[in-house]
Structures are given as C-alpha cells and as structure tokens.
Amino acid sequence: MGITLSRAAQWTTASSNIGKLEFTPMNELLLKEILSFVEEFSSQHPQQAEHVFKEPLQWTTTLVASDFKTDYDISDSVVQSQEKDSEGHPLLLLSPPNVYVRSFSQLCKLVHLTNDKKLEEVRACLEDNRNPVVKVLGPSFAAELEGDNQDETRLFAKVKEEEEHKDTDDKVKLFLLLQNLDKQLLIKLLHEISQQVELNPAAVKNEVEMLKRSCGNGESRLLKSIQYTSDYEFSNGCRAPPWRQVHGEICYLVIEPCDSETLYITCSTAGVFLNRGIKQKGEENDYERTSDTYEDLVSLLKSKSPQFAKNINKQDCAVQELPSTQKIQHVESVDAEEQGQPQRSYEQQEKNVHEKARQQHTANKAGGKMKYEPCPRWKDLGLKCPPGRAEEKKPNKSSGEEKSGEMYKKKMATGAKSKMKADFSVSSLPGHLSPLKIKTSAGALPVEVFSESSTESEEEEEQPERRPESNTDLPSEYWHIQKLVKYIKGGDQRFTVLTLCTLMDFNLMQETCQLAIRDVGGLEVLINLLDTNEVKCKIGSLKILRKISSSVQIRRAIVEMGGLQSIVKIVDSEEEELMALAAETIAIVARFPKARRTVRQYGGIKKLVKLLDCVSNLANLSVRQEKDVEIARCGTLALWSCSKSTRNKDAIRKAGGIPLLGRLLKSPHESMLIPVVGTLQECASEESYRIAIQTEGMIKDLVKILGSDNDELQMHCASAIFKCAEDKQTRDLVREYKGLQLLVSLLSKADNKHLLAAATGAIWKCSISMENVAKFGEYNALEVLVNLLTDQPEEVLVNVVGAVGEFAQIPENKATIRRCGGIKPLVNLLTGTNQALLVNVTKAVGACATDMDNMVIIDQLDGVRLVWSLLKNPSADVQSSAAWALCPCINNAKDAGEMVRSLVGGLELIVNLLKSTNNEVLASICATIAKIAKDKENLAVLTDHGVVPLLAKLTNTTDDRLRRHLAEAIGHCCMWGSNKALFGEAGAVAPLVCYLKSKDSSVHQSTAMALYQLSKDPNNCITMHEKGVVKPLIHIMGSDEEMLQEAAAGCVRNIRLLALANRKVQLFY
C-alpha cells in the first residue's frame, strides 16, 4: 500500500506532504480498491482485524456523533468505542472534526456507518495519512514492506525482538495482507495505465516540429511562436530535468497563440497540460498542473485558441477531401519521413501530420490500443521509464523483482538525491587519486618495465559514461550551472570573473557538476576564455578546468575541443599564476596518450621544461623565488603526467630536462620532490635516463631522499632505484651511499603495499650484485624477505621472490632460507598464475634445490611435480624457467629416476617442448633432458617418445646457449640402444662438428662429449672425419679441462680405430 500510495497515486503537488488526491480515474480506482479491502477485512480476517495499530489513523471526517449507534459511548459530540486497547485508549475516538481509529475492525465498522460517503472518508483518511502503513505497523515494518525481503521467518524474528506481544503472529499476518494489497493495487493500476494512451519524446518532438513550421505570418498561420524552455535535449529525447522525467514529463513548451495569451505547457507521457509557467528557471511549484490533460498538443491548442482550432480544421477538411486510399498512403509517407527523409513539400507534410494526429485521435476515442512505441534508447534505460512502464512490459515478473524495481524508482524519486551525491563524490575520489595509483603500480611492474614505457599498458581505459544513472537524478545544480554558463557567454570581464567565482563554489570534483558543465556547453566557453587577453578570466577558467578534469570524460572532451593547445599556449605567459595553473591543469589532463601527444606536438614539453629552470639554490628562498619554485613544481607535475609516453621522455631529455630535474632533486621540500622523483622513476624505464641519472650523480640524492619519512616519496625513490639498478655501477653506487640499509629498513613499512613493492623491487635488483647480497646479509634482509613470502600482493611477491632467488645464489643463504622456513611458501607459490611471479618462483626454487637439504624438503612438498607442471604454462618464460629449475632438482633428488617416472606424462611433455620455437625454452629443455637421460630407464622412455629426431632437427641452430645444452642432451641420449646411429642418420653429426668452431668454450666441452659418444658408431666417424673434425679436436685436446681432453681424445681414438680397422680389412682381404 505504501508504494502504491507514494508512487502511483496522483497527488496534486508532487513534493509537498499535504497534497490532495486528484480526481482522476486512476485515483478513483485506487480508492475503491482500498475501500473494498477495508470493508471485507473484518469478515475475512477477524483475528487480524483486532490488531491494535501502532499509532491511530487520524483524519478530518464528515461524520458526526449522531451517525454512531449504540455500541459506542456517546457524550455530546465526542464518541468513543467500547473496545479499548491495552493502555486504555478507545479504539475509535471521534472528536469532530477529527476521528482516531486504532484497528481494522473499527475502521471497517466506521466505513459501514458512512453509507454514501465511503469514498470520501477513504480519500480523507489517505490524504491525512500519507503513509498509513507506518501508523499501522510502525516504521520498521513499513520499511520492510517497501524492501524486497519477504522472508517470513525474518519478519517473525524482527517482531519478536521488537516486542514480546502475544499478537506477534497477527502482526505478521497483517503485514503480509497489506503487502498483498499493495501488490494487487499496483497490478490493477498498471493495467489501467496500460489502457491509456501515452506520449513519448519522439512523438512530442514531431508534433512540435510540425507546429513550428506552421508558425510565422499570414492569415492561415496557426501560432505566433512555439518554443522549448530548454535547448538541451537528453539522450532519451526528453528536455525536462531528470527529476521531472521520473514523473513522466518530457518537455516544457512556451506557445504564443495568435489570439490568446502565452501558454506554458508541459508534455508528459500521460498527456499535455498547462503548467504554472515554467520558464527557464524551473521553480518547483511551477510544474503544477493547471488544466485538464489532453492527448496531444493539437487538441490542447484547439481548446485554448479558437483561431488555431479554426485554421487547423480548415486544413483537416482539405485533407478529408482526398480519396480514402490516398489518405492511407499519406499516413505511411509520414512514417517514412519520421525516419529521416524530410524532402517532402512543407505543405503536404504538414497536412499529413495533422491527418495522422487526427486519425490517432479518433482511434483513441474508439478505445483502441494504439500507442506510440517508446524510442529504443528509452527502452534500454529501463529506469527512465515512467512509473509503471517496466512492469507493464513484463507483467509476469516475479513479485520480488517488481518490488525492488519499485523500490529503486522510489529511491530515485525521493530523498535519495543527497545520498546519490555522496556516492558520486566518493566515486570520484579514486579517479582523483589515480595518478598516484598508476604510478605506484607502474613501479611495481615486473621485468618488462625495463624494456618499454612502464605505463603504456596502463593507460586510462575509455570509461563507460555513467550518464544513465546520473541523468535520472541531476540535481538543481544542473540548472544553476546552465544559467552561469549563459552569464559567462553574455557578460563582460567583471561579470565573467564573478560568474567563474560562483562556479568555483560548486563541488567541481563531483561528477554531476562536471558533466553538467560539459552538457550545457560550459567547456567550450571555458576554453574560449583561455584564448582571450583577460588574465583574470583565464585564471578563473583554469581554476575550474583544473578541478573538473578529475573526470576522464572531461579530460577527453577538453582534448577533443582543442583546449589543451590553449592551455599549452598559456604555459609561457608572463603571469606567474597563469603559468602555474596551466602546468597544473596539464598535469591532470595529460593522463591519456592523446593528451600527452598533444602536449608534445604543440611544444608543451619544451615550455614545461623551461619552467623547471628557476632558482639554483633551493634553500632560503625569498618570497619572489618561492613563486618561481612553485611554478617549477607545477611544471614538474605536468612533466610527470607527460612522462608516461616514451616519446615524451625523449622530448624531456632533448629539452634538457634531466639536469634541471637533477637540480630540483636537491630541494628540501617534499611537495617538490614527489613530482621530481616521480618523473625520474617514470623516465628511468629508458636507458638514456638510467645512464644520465647515474652520471649526473642523482643516485646520491635519491638515496638521501630514500631516508626521508614520506612514504610516497620513498616509494618513488625506491622505484627509481628499482629501475636504475639494472646497471651494475648504479648498484654499486647505492651500496656506496649506504642505500641498502635504507632499503631494508623500508621493509618494516609492510602496510603500505606500493611502498613495499617498490622497496622489494629495489632490493631485488640490487641483489644481483653479490657484494650487495653480502651487505644485505649484515642487515638480515633475507630473514625479513622470507617473512614477506606469505600474505602479500603479487606485485610485492614478484620482487620478494626475485630477491630471494638472487640471495640463494650464495650457499650459506640457501641454508638461511631453509632455516627461516622459506622453502614451503616458495613451493606454495608454484601454484599461482602470475607469470612474472612464476618465473621468479621457479628460479628461486631452482636455486634452493642446489642444496641437498633444501631438496629433501622440496621433494617432501611435492615441489618437483609442481615445477614440472609449470612446463604446461603458456608463457615461454615460465616454461624455460621451470625447466631450468628442474635441472638441479633432478640432480639432487634422492631417487631422481623413480621420481621422474612417477610423474605421469612428464617425459612426453618434455619431449614435446622440443617443438617450441623459443631458443631459451629449447636450451632449458635440452639441459633437463641431459639430466633425465642419466637414468637409463627414463632415457628409454624419452627415446620411445622420439627424442632423437627432435634433437637432431635442432642441431642447425647458431645460438651458442642452445648449442651447448643441445650437444649435452645429444651426448647423454646416445647412451641408449641404437640412438648413436639414429643421430647419424638424422644428420645431427655434421652440424655438431661445426659447433667446434664456436667461440664459446662451454659449447666445445659439451660438443666434444657428444662427439665422443657419437663416434662409437662407425658411420658417424666417417661423417665426422669427412667434416674435418680431427683438427679442431686435436686443438681441444690441448685444453686445460681434463674432461674436455678426455672426450676429444676419445673421439679421435674412435676415428683412428675405425681407420685402422679399415686398413686391416683392405690389407688382409
């Protein structure tokens, strides 16, 4: 009942609480339904009828004492019922003109007493009790009724905890009854609504267009003028403000008929009626209906303007003279025109439209169900449907859905406005903070950070506009802003500045305001101001642009409109305030590639870099210098944003930005340092910057700043070191300036994940130098790192694990990892999905596995199987890293052969990876095969899977790393059956001989071993000999390595033996 009353009933004044129910058929129906519900209540639900209301229903009645009969206590004009509630209040109390009723049974009796005035009583009751449910059941129940929760048990619980009454049961039943009534009413009303003809924006627009054409001069003109009150058309075709759209209003018109006074008209889905005069201000009470509702504009105008009626009838007659078949054709042609072919002659078209309207008219009268189709966009945005529409379309919707739909609309329409605002301001916050976010995550990006610009992949995505939502509840700000923009357009400098100041008072960080400014054409105006000579206007405009640019859509719009060029132009103006503001605005706008490109293409980078050239000594500044420094800071902020494009990084460098940044790095102010270090760390993805940072001596400053106590600053610093420490010299410098200890101390700030990611990243890269690892050992870094192996976000884990992997290169650290319980978390991480993390984890596990004691633990944790299964990972990096990790595992496992065999399908997987095209994968797999092949049984399996031809096929490679491991694998695979001969047949021997010419001595070693094995087959010996293997082998025999000597010599011996045998054969036979 609550919902129906608040939404479906047509109150005279929509917003006030003392409104009257209008005399409309809908309301009539509503009242009748409620009346019959009340009348039958006592007989149908006697028990619930006795339930005493939470508060009495009170209204002004027409009843007097004499209407009451004997079972009431009557004294003078006051009437009391004999029944009382538990506190002694009579259940019915009449003290004219008011009546108080406390139960349905009394209500029912009362209704029966009133005879012919029943409806009036119900009407009065509802008008005075806008929310009867609250009074009957109490507010919490009313809320429940409007909510979509219909869980009975919950209701019981609620009632019980609320009061220990015996009538709990009744209350719930009553509640359910009311709920049911509500539903019934809604369905009835909707049915009623669907019978009515409705207008839609397209239809109204057509009609207005048609009437517009008939304005003008001359005898036969229909109207003097017809105008919309608003030029702005929402995407759904409506011009009414959204909070009026929920009432079904489409637009407002101001029409000047030829013969009567100006008409102010509201077009709504329910029809067309006069309002109190909505001009452009749109005061709330102006919306009130002051006339009957008409089906369309023409019929309204006909009744209001005799001349209009006369003229239009004339035209109607003209049309009617046409033969009927033609008439139909005409109607069709109008339809065609509506779809966008307006080439017909104006006169004819006009007539057609009239004709159509007229026809429709008659159709309506005949009770037909002819209806305008809602335009498709409207359909999509279900919530823009006028109340009832959605349900009307899906009458079978479950009641739950229906409720929630209703609930939502209610929320949209009533007090939710303020709440929505709050939501928006919150939601706009992340956007505002996004630079920080983007940057930090950039720092935490793994390996590929160094190859390319860190954030190119993190560009702002095209955000879907949240228009539909905000549209439905645009607040009054929208109209204020529209007015202000109009003022800016029409005012002089003073007025414009005042208006801009007023505009600044809006909450410009709020999306509603931002979009409102854009939608009313405010952006163009603001951008135009930038090209004027008025300094104050420019300042005002920039102050606003700077704020509204927190919205992605606004940023895009500014760039699309060419506003960024204008802003760039201002960067080198003479006014300091303007320069700073322009730079600051660029910093916010240039958050997507196109904007950054624009800045560069219009020479912005150079101008911005110039801003950095301020004071050389940044301590002890005068007031004037402080201003310059502030400008430099804004410039750096802008460069920071711009520096996310690789080309801009180049441009900054070419404009001489690096030394200037280096100078600003000595500033004592954190507000300055943050953008400076931010820019540097962003640019450090480029090698040229890394070199410059090192050679300009910035590492020293960076390390110093690392010791500040500002988290953000430390984070950018660590990030910069993270990227720069790719270079060995930088790593050494960090150690020299005692940066390592600072980095380790940052690990204690484990709550700040961005900082932690940057710090661990820096530690990882620094630990590539073994001297640093030793130094880290002094600060017990490894212990801390091992503790960070659990419960951290992936970007931290990647770095931590990377560092642990580097630390584990030193034998004593392997034991430390084990002692601190690091093996288990490492093995657990093998089940992850982050590829960068998996690469590092497998590497770390592999490094740990070189220690026998660690290997025992890994084996117990089933780590080998996990690593092995990573060979199935689609990433080549993960595959190769896993394969490399397998080598030490197989080497050090106690019963390696058995372990390998226990992995079902494992060997087949390995052999199949020989088909990979990635050399690193191939090399790692070859290395693994070499380890596996040490077990004869496994070698047999490998052979069965066809390892020989696959290896042979690879022999043509020129990659030394692959050659080395390939030769090793071939050497080991020769140990089974006829593999030696098979390699020969597959043509593997000749390329192997060529390997001996390689410059890499490790290739020589494994090749010599392989050749030795292969030379055990006579045919291979012949091939080798033919390829001139002897000479290089003899050379290798002179190596210092015994293994190598032995293999080379063995090979030569085999060849020699074959030759001797041949000789013997020739001699003796």
Binding site: G490, Q493, R494, L498, C501, D505
Partner: protein, 214 residues
C-alpha cells in the same frame, strides 16, 4: 634658472623626506621622481587654476592613458579613494600614498583599497545597491532576449550571499577580506581598479628611469 631649480630641488628633497615616513613601498629617490612627475602632470593640467592638486578630470585621463582604465564609475571611485581629504583634488601626498598601494601594495593594502573603491558612499559597507550600480552594464546580452538586468540582479544576489559571512545583508571590510583571501579573483570583483602588470611596469619605467636620466 639654475638657482631656481636648485631651490626646487631642495624643496623636493625635503618633501620626499617627509613623505617617505608615510609611504612604505617607495625609496626616497623614487619618491623624488614621483614628485617631479607629479609636478609635470600638474603643469600639463588643462585648467591649472589655483589648485594645488590634480582635479578629477585630469586624474581620470591619467588613469585612462597610463593605466588603461575605462570604466567611468570605477575611475571616479578610484579618485575618491585617492582623495583622502575629500577636497576634490589629489595633492602630491595623496598621489604618492595612493600610488604606493596602487602600484606595489600588499594583498592587505589592495583589499582595503578595492573595498574603499567599491564602497561608493563611504559607509564602510558594500551594499547590494552599490554592487548593482557598479555591475549595471556588465551583462551585455543573454539569449532569447532575456533581460540582462535580471541577470545582473541575480549575480549580485549570489555574490552578496557569498561574501556576506556575518549575514547582515551587506559586505563589510572583514567580509570582503575573507572572501578575497578565499578566492583572490574576487579582489577586483566589481570592476578593475588596479593596474595590470604591464602598465605598472610601463609607468614605473617612465617615471623612475626617465626621471633619473634627467
């Protein structure tokens, strides 16, 4: 002649001495230059008469020619603000004291100056009527033939509401001060009454350097 100019010079110096005690932003030499310049301006005055100062018309033409101001209402108001003794003439003292704020004033001084300019009846409040008077012609046109005057009224209401922190329906100096500190753009909200950077530079260059060369 030289004797006269020497006498003159002495006079100027002693005057400069006296003035420098009241004026913060000019050095003594600069004050001397300004005195000389003032004398030149006085001599150029169209009706020199017997007055010992610049009259309104002359002052307005200086504002127009040297500082690019054009709004008659504001120029009169600036004259009124310079003319501290209300004798309808700007004496050399008033001129130099006024210029001190006009050219080099701190934000505080400028706020006070502008407030005085806008407070046309000198009752220490800027009222709605005063605002409307100053802004009367500031809204040039509105679409749909709306009445610009209504727009101005509307803006005056908005601005008054914004500046009137103590809710007494008018803007006191304290209100104005607070509003300007919150948003600097409001300093010259009701009309440009301070010179822009370029004309300041031009004027100073002309007066100080030109005079020093002599």
């Amino acid at each position: 002649m030289s004797e006269l100019s020497a006498m003159n010079r002495k006079k100027i110096q002693s005057l400069a001495d006296k003035l420098s005690k009241h004026v913060n932003h000019f050095s003594k030499t600069e004050i001397e230059c300004l005195i000389c310049d003032f004398n030149v301006l006085l001599r150029e005055q169209i009706n020199p008469g017997k007055a010992n100062g610049l009259d309104r018309q002359n002052f307005r033409s200086i504002l127009y020619n040297k500082f690019g101001m054009s709004d008659a209402i504001i120029m009169d108001a600036v004259f009124r603000t310079f003319d501290t003794d209300v004798d309808s003439f700007i004496s050399v003292k008033e001129w130099i004291e006024g210029l001190s704020v006009f050219l080099r004033g701190t934000l505080d001084e400028k706020i006070k100056f502008c407030f005085q300019v806008y407070d046309s009846n000198g009752d220490n409040y800027i009222t709605k009527e005063e605002m409307f008077h100053m802004l009367r012609n500031s809204l040039i046109q509105l679409p749909n033939d709306e009445d610009p005057e209504e727009g101005v009224k509307d803006m005056v209401e908005i601005t008054l509401k914004r500046m009137d922190y103590d809710h007494d329906g008018k803007v006191s100096l304290a209100d104005f001060d607070k509003a300007v500190r919150e948003e600097n753009l409001l300093l010259e909200a009701f009309g440009t009454c301070l010179p822009d950077r370029k004309s300041i530079r031009g004027f100073e260059q002309q007066v100080f350097q030109h005079q020093l060369e002599k």
